[in-house]
């Protein structure tokens, strides 16, 4: 068995074969042999940025939107990228045939239900990117899929058309009302849970949204599986920068790496109260937490 098969991850020199604007985002298709065979929905890819002269050394992480194991060019990987800072600006300015180094797939995928149950999939902004593939997988297993897509404004919604194909029902919300219901996904979620009786929700998007999905889900007796987004220096588990406080099965809180133990966590295990305005503290009861007066 090759190292890649054993380890479930490859590093490949990818080649961009298509790049197109979709609302506020860029949708990239990258030839990345070996990724498709290993990837599952919820996992992510880490791309290096800036080429040979780069001063930006850290990889950028993106949810895998979809993969296809073979094609004219070999296996491909699709990502949906919002240009934000130096690295994403560079990635979204790539043209066909440009090279980009890819490490993928990374992290834990969304755990799938063993029974064919109704599922609610919630995506905020580009957070919807991994959900269509997940929806397909869930429907293959006989689950019904209800999708809720939210964003600040219409251009920041991703995949509304795709959603209508992949899901049994779709609700759209925007903060400014430019598309769908004006408001947040949490405004429409109670009705969705009540109507579908879904025992599980899958969500990807900003932390605030993930927290409210978790809350609404538990109010309706459902479990939320949320894909988080913490700043990551390595993406492969060696740097310890991407940690967050998460309870384990026994209820013990540890600072765990979201790149290897996540990015998908059970929402009710995350210590949401430790997050505050872009920073996250170490809960006092976490294993090895600083004692008063010290470390």
């Amino acid at each position: 068995m090759s190292r890649a098969e054993q380890s479930g991850v490859v590093q490949v020199q990818g080649e961009v074969i298509a790049t197109r604007r979709v609302g506020a985002y860029h949708h990239l298709t990258i030839v990345a042999p070996g990724v498709a065979e290993l990837a599952r929905p919820g996992q992510f890819a880490a791309l290096s940025v800036g080429g040979l002269t780069t001063g930006n050394l850290l990889r950028r992480s993106f949810s895998i939107h979809k993969v296809s194991p073979s094609g004219t060019y070999g296996g491909t990987l699709d990502l949906v990228i919002a240009a934000k800072g130096a690295g994403t600006e560079w990635l979204t300015s790539l043209r066909a045939h440009d090279a980009v180094d890819v490490v993928a797939p990374l992290g834990r995928a969304f755990p799938l239900p063993t029974e064919p149950v109704p599922c609610v999939l919630v995506g905020g902004g580009y957070g919807s990117a991994p959900l269509f593939w997940l929806a397909d997988v869930l429907r293959e297993r006989g689950c019904t899929v209800e999708m809720v897509l939210g964003a600040a404004s219409e251009d920041r919604l991703f995949g509304v058309v795709e959603a209508r194909r992949s899901a049994d029902g779709v609700t759209v919300t925007t903060d400014d009302g430019s598309a769908g219901v004006k408001g947040w996904v949490s405004d429409v979620l109670p009705e969705v849970f009540t109507r579908t009786g879904a025992p599980v929700a899958y969500a990807c998007g900003p932390m605030g949204m993930l927290q409210s999905v978790t809350r609404v889900a538990s109010e309706h007796g459902a479990v939320a599986q949320v894909a988080v987004e913490e700043a990551m220096a390595c993406g492969v588990g060696v740097c310890m920068t991407c940690v967050m406080p998460v309870r384990d099965k026994l209820g013990v809180t540890k600072m765990v790496r979201s790149c290897v133990e996540g990015p998908v966590f059970r929402g009710d295990r995350i210590r949401w109260e430790a997050f505050h305005d872009g920073v996250c503290g170490v809960p006092e009861d976490a294993v090895g937490a600083p004692k008063v007066g010290g470390h």
């Binding site: 850290l58 700043a231 060696v238 010290g294």
Partner: protein, 320 residues
């Protein structure tokens, strides 16, 4: 012709000079998915202290120009969990391990060393790296390695715990006025060798929120941006040893190594071993790739042994 890449530190000979850097490779399993960690000269583990530590809150990192800041806060499982879970795994894959240890007090360093020495898998340990670039709780949180006396004390106490034949390296910070005096103190107190350099103290401010970017406010600067400082530190200490200011010991160079060429730069300045840190975040295969590139480069310089290149730049100065 193949270059003999082996290097010797005290009683231990390693097949090659390339190692991971502490805190940049976790404890092995993660990188082993990309390459065989037993192929490296040594695997350097994340600094471990006595008790489990949660480390600091987040954000713990900021990208900087050709580098990064980190403020992990020495998160780790504690030495007991380390010797029970991590060290045996490293041994099982055949890695040669350089264990990085630290303490809040000089005494804690010694206690950690003691647990390590008593552990079952200790025979895979080719050395101990004493990370004295961490705050000394007993002395206003001043970093041990900022003070020759505090540094010497830690080194001497750890030395007492380690069997004679186990090499011990003191890992120095560059954030001092005179790194030679710290090196001197560490060597006099029994260090088999020195690892240089740890991160530089740095800081990034979030200009949107107008507040420190890191949860821990300041952090350690690493990556290619600091390589010139690492080369200079290795150069100064090597020059001092060559002048006979203190006993000559082998150095391990670390700081900004991304390519075989970078590794050779540190070797030419005086390093016998090389650690690859932040570059691993850019390329998880970096340690292995650096080794391959270094070997090819040594070959192109026509040497039979990599050790012929150690400190060579000191012999090749041109005074015009």
């Amino acid at each position: 012709m193949a270059v003999d890449m082996s290097v010797t530190f005290g009683t231990r000979t390693l097949p090659n000079p390339v190692m991971t850097a502490s805190g940049c490779a976790a404890n092995g399993r993660e990188l082993h998915r990309f390459f065989d960690v037993s192929k490296l000269g040594a695997f350097v583990t994340k600094t471990v202290m006595m008790d489990p530590r949660s480390g600091r809150g987040t954000p713990r990192m900021a990208e900087t120009a050709s580098g990064m800041l980190n403020s992990i806060g020495l998160q780790g499982p504690g030495i007991h969990a380390f010797v029970e879970q991590d060290l045996p795994w490293l041994k099982s894959v055949g890695a040669r391990v350089l264990v990085s240890i630290a303490g809040n007090t000089a005494g804690e360093f010694a206690d950690v060393a003691k647990v390590l020495v008593a552990s079952d898998a200790f025979d895979c340990v080719v050395g101990v790296e004493v990370n004295i670039s961490c705050p000394n709780v007993a002395n206003r949180g001043l970093v041990f390695a900022c003070d020759p006396l505090a540094s010497g004390k830690v080194i001497a106490l750890v030395r007492e715990q380690l069997p004679r034949d186990v090499p011990m390296f003191a890992k120095l910070t560059p954030d001092v006025t005179d790194i030679v005096s710290i090196a001197d103190a560490a060597v006099k107190s029994g260090a088999t060798g020195l690892t240089m350099i740890n991160t530089l103290l740095g800081m990034v401010i979030d200009t949107d929120r107008l507040r420190p970017h890191l949860g821990g406010i300041t952090g350690g600067l690493s990556g290619p941006s600091i390589r010139p400082v690492a080369v200079r530190a290795l150069w100064q200490v090597t020059a001092a040893m060559r002048e006979g200011r203190f006993q000559t010991v082998p150095l391990i160079g670390v700081g900004g190594v991304r390519t075989g060429r970078d590794a050779l730069e540190l070797i030419a300045a005086g390093a016998t071993g090389i650690q690859v840190g932040t570059a691993t975040f850019n390329d998880p295969n970096a340690p292995q790739r650096v080794l391959t590139e270094l070997e090819a480069l040594a070959d192109s310089h026509g040497v039979a042994r990599i050790t012929e290149l150690v400190g060579i730049a000191h012999d090749r100065m041109v005074i015009p």
